[in-house]
Amino acid sequence: MNKLFHSAFFTEILKALRMVFGHYFVKEVTLQYPHEKNTLPDTHRGALCLLRYESGEERCVGCDLCNAACPSYCITVVSAVEENDHVVRRFATSFDIDMTKCVFCGFCVEACPVNALGMTKMYEYSTSNKRDLVFDKAKLYEIGEKWHGQAKGYLIAHNQEGEDETVSEYRYRFPSSRKQEEEQKEEVEAQVDG
């Protein structure tokens, strides 16, 4: 009887309609993309860039670690050594990232020992010419200058760098190795005292 009532009066459909019409009075969640944009968190893995020290010197030492860690083999680094007044400096003479191959995994940033690479929130760089998507050294530094804050934010958010220069956090937070270090220090001090 109950079943007959429900099937005769389409109760389930009426219930659903009521719920759906209720949504007229709920704030909409859709973003009208080119006009409105989502705010991205600092962790966002976007286009790559190269960074400089505050003095303007290039951070990259051309060690090729980013290339070795990259799963899609899209970084090419050519490095050189320069000796100037007994100061040896290694640097990258050319540095290309093929953005058509990059999968935005962030492994290169993780591998870089001097935090020369960073990731920005830049994602709108589509072009009709595929060659423009091979970012060379000049282009990467240009992006790095333009989005310096974002790249720094990425490094801090991924525990690559401390908030200020002196305090840098452990990447994976290893209190035990920190403890070991302290113990060793204490031992050494004790020996020195003894």
Binding site: P71, P113, Y154, Y170, S177
Partner: protein, 418 residues
């Protein structure tokens, strides 16, 4: 007589004279032929590039042959030339609607081979993100399955919630779809307080949202009519065909890797495995909805219990050394260089490790001959195995049901073709 000659000439012209044509009163007799229908690989509702050749008798399917391989990218071969860490982004692209669980499955297999103990906090974080991914995967399934069957509204509602989860993923690891969040030995980043707060907030309203989808579907006569008794499979057949996940539990077989061989924090929280009775599409729908409620429960408990501690094992030859020590300590710098350039060595041996993904048991079989690359990596994707049971489940149903039938396994071709 002339007419007959004409027909014969015409057939001759087309080279079809071998077809023994019978003539009745000088006219060719009507022939009855099964209709061959090619569905896909570009059909809008085949969930990717799946091609099915259907043999029809009227509207009834008498034979259905799936042709796979349109999305083959050679992941297994690529993996042989990549270090174990470099394989993680490859696993993202298997089942692209649930990359967290793919990462988890792979990383667990390597850890089983390495026999390392993962810190407790890392285990909890892994469980939380895997369950979040299960929610996102099931929401995706529910939305698209309803859309395929013709209920459009549900799609918008489920994607609204999925969006929140994807935003959270972005906050956790930086990507929405291809996470690469897991590392062998732990995870990449810690959960921040903001993530925890937002997750709590999400879980507070989530059960209501599930009720919302149910209002639209549970008793809706069209939904019930198009899912009840469609794609039936008995418990025995389901086991024989190797179905796993909701497809198996829909037939009432109580098998869930999370319960059978607990990993992560699944044995430390309370939850149930929902089981179906009939093994039809409606039961599988019901199970997925129930699983969403269970997943929400698991995440809540994990967040409550979340212990403090490390998020990756403290082994210098497995994980990157602490960042600040790289800049000050020679030893750490050397370890850093070694891990970045060569990865880590895995002992010789073979291992199989199955993990419960949203679609079923995702297994990785690794053969290692020592060194930093696997000798062979074999993936057991649930979607591929489910395709084996496709014909069995499709026989005797109408052509209109075919979309329901491959939607019912939650098939993803990226994983099926690898």
């Amino acid at each position: 007589m002339e007419e007959k000659q004409e027909t014969a000439d015409r057939l001759d012209h087309y080279g079809e004279d071998e077809l023994d044509i019978e003539y009745v009163d000088g006219k060719p007799k009507k022939r009855v032929e099964d209709l061959l229908l090619n569905m896909g690989p570009q059909h809008p509702s085949t969930h990717g590039v799946l091609r099915i050749v259907l043999e029809m008798e009227g509207e009834v399917i008498v034979k259905a042959t799936p042709y796979l391989g349109y999305l083959h990218r050679g992941v297994e071969k690529l993996a042989e030339n990549s270090t174990y860490t470099q394989i993680i982004p490859l696993t993202d692209r298997l089942d692209y609607t649930s990359s967290m669980t793919n990462n988890y499955a792979f990383v667990r297999a390597v850890e089983k081979l390495l026999q390392v103990e993962i810190p407790e906090r890392a285990e909890y974080i892994r469980t939380i993100v895997a369950e979040m991914q299960r929610l996102a995967g099931h929401l995706f399934w529910l939305g698209t399955q309803a859309l395929d069957i013709g209920a459009m509204t549900v799609f918008f509602y489920t994607f609204r919630e999925r969006e929140i989860l994807l935003d959270l993923f972005e906050l956790i690891c930086g990507a929405r779809l291809t996470m690469s969040y897991f590392r062998v030995g732990g995870v990449d980043r810690d959960l921040s307080q903001e993530v925890v707060d937002r997750l709590y907030q999400f879980l507070k309203t989530f059960p209501e949202k599930v009720d919302e989808y149910n209002t639209l579907l549970e008793t809706n006569r069209i939904w019930v009519g198009r899912t009840r008794d469609i794609a039936m499979i008995s418990a025995e057949d389901a086991v024989n065909f190797g179905l796993t996940g909701p497809a198996l539990r829909g037939s009432g077989v109580n098998y869930d890797v999370r319960k059978a061989e607990p990993y992560g924090a699944y044995d430390k929280v309370e939850w149930e495995v929902p089981l179906g009775k009939n093994g039809d599409t409606y039961d599988r729908y019901w199970i997925r909805v129930e699983e969403m409620r269970q997943s929400a429960k698991i995440i809540k408990q994990c967040l409550d219990q979340l212990p403090e501690g490390l998020i990756a094992v403290d082994l210098p030859n497995l994980t990157y050394p602490p960042r600040d020590k790289v800049e000050t300590d020679m030893e750490s710098l050397i370890h850093h260089f070694m891990i970045a350039t060569e990865g880590f060595d895995v002992p010789e041996g073979e291992v199989y490790c199955g993990t419960e993904g949203p679609k079923g048991e995702l297994g990785f079989y690794i053969v290692s001959q020592g060194g930093n690359k696997p000798y062979r990596l074999r993936i057991r994707p649930p979607s591929f195995i489910h395709m084996g049971a496709f014909e069995h489940m499709a026989l005797g149903y109408m052509i209109a049901d075919i979309v329901t039938i491959f939607g019912t396994y939650d098939i993803v071709m990226g994983e099926c073709d690898r």
